[in-house]
């Protein structure tokens, strides 16, 4: 299988910020991403869980973005502008993709 090098960016961010982040990604030309639900977690601000929650306030989502290496910086800048003052985690790893023309 022909594979190509890419970057996998995983951003865990508060649910109320989701649209801001994806809008910012869109503006930066990053239109491919997948959003995963998050059940709960823990961090410097303590443990939390989505169970029984009604408000979006107390939840997070994880956004996964696979992107060509050369476009990483642009993406990170867009993401950083949004997450900067908010809680959340940005983590980048190397990966390889099939059908590289899609990215």
């Amino acid at each position: 299988m022909e594979m190509k090098q890419a970057k996998r960016v995983e951003i865990t961010i508060e649910a109320p910020m989701e649209n801001r982040l994806t809008d910012s990604l869109d503006r930066a030309g990053v239109t491919g991403y997948t959003i995963l639900p998050v059940l709960g977690g823990s961090g410097r601000s303590g443990r939390w869980s989505r169970e029984g929650q009604v408000s979006r306030a107390g939840g997070m989502v994880t956004i996964i973005c696979i992107i060509r290496p050369e476009r990483l910086d642009q993406l990170l800048e867009a993401a950083f502008g949004v997450v900067e003052r908010h809680i959340g985690v940005v983590c980048v790893s190397d990966c390889q993709v099939l059908r590289a023309e899609r990215f």
């Binding site: 910020m17 029984g52 929650q53 009604v54 408000s55 979006r56 306030a57 107390g58 003052r85 908010h86």
Partner: protein, 341 residues
Amino acid sequence: MRLKPRGNATVADTVLTLAATNLLSPIILFFALGLGAALVRSDLSVPEAAAKALSIYLLFAIGFKGGVSVASHGVDSTLLLSLVAGTVLSFAIPFAAFGLLRVMTQLGTIDAAAVAGHYGSISIVTFVAATSVLQSQGIASEGYMVAVAAAMEAPAILSALWIAARYSSPKEQADQAQDTKGLYREILLNGSIVLLLGSFAIGLISGPKGLADIESFIVSPFKGVLCLFLLDMGLVAGRGLRASAHQLRPGLILFGILMPVLGSLAGLAAALLIGLSPGGTVLLMTLSASASYIAVPAAMRVALPDANPAIYLTMSLGITFPFNLTVGIPLYLTMAQAFGG
């Protein structure tokens, strides 16, 4: 409404009697069950999707019934006045709350502004609980109070942001301005406001004939659904209390009890001024006394990310909500009756 208590002692008596009845209602008991279960770390839990579905049901039902009630009783001349009064209260209460927080607690300005915003806005479940106490006492109220509730959700957020900005450095102000972009739109088009007002409008259009169609969905099972929802709220509040109890200094707890009473007084004054019915007075008092736990927290996470959510959520859901549910509502009812509401 027949007996108007004359002195303070009698007022206290009435509150206690009412509170005692109230405390044993299934609604409160299920809240207590959820609270207890969470505090002892039971794994009892309501799935997020189910909790959201319950909340959609409640907004749908309460909005629709409010609309139908206005359709049947006609629009009171006080409707507009009530909307204005609600909006003003929602704008104003955060300022009082902020002042009080600065005096009573050691919260920083951002945290204090965020907490203050919650108390200006409203909790629809507290409103529903008050409605059901009124019902059980056979006291009528204006159907459009639902619309007033919707009108009171958002203004407090603006006040909170304004307060926060006043006490922030220019750099922080720029950051906040950045975060706030698009926020006003989001707040106004918040799902719970849209659903509540939308259902209200549909109830208004459909009238009693529409209600007859869906009565056995939104009227008869309502209290039972409310019990389940309060079970869930108890669970969420209990989890919050367990996680953040250490952050609740006595000053904060006191504030969480004092502030709703002060809010209710502001509501009472407004209600007397515009001439609401006794039932409507109690509802406006309850709205003023209640603190948001859906719309405002989400807005604060966006606009004031440095404010600690553990504080405002725990105060709103862990202190003020149960206070209103148990002691508050009976108190407001008694006060409304005492002050000739």
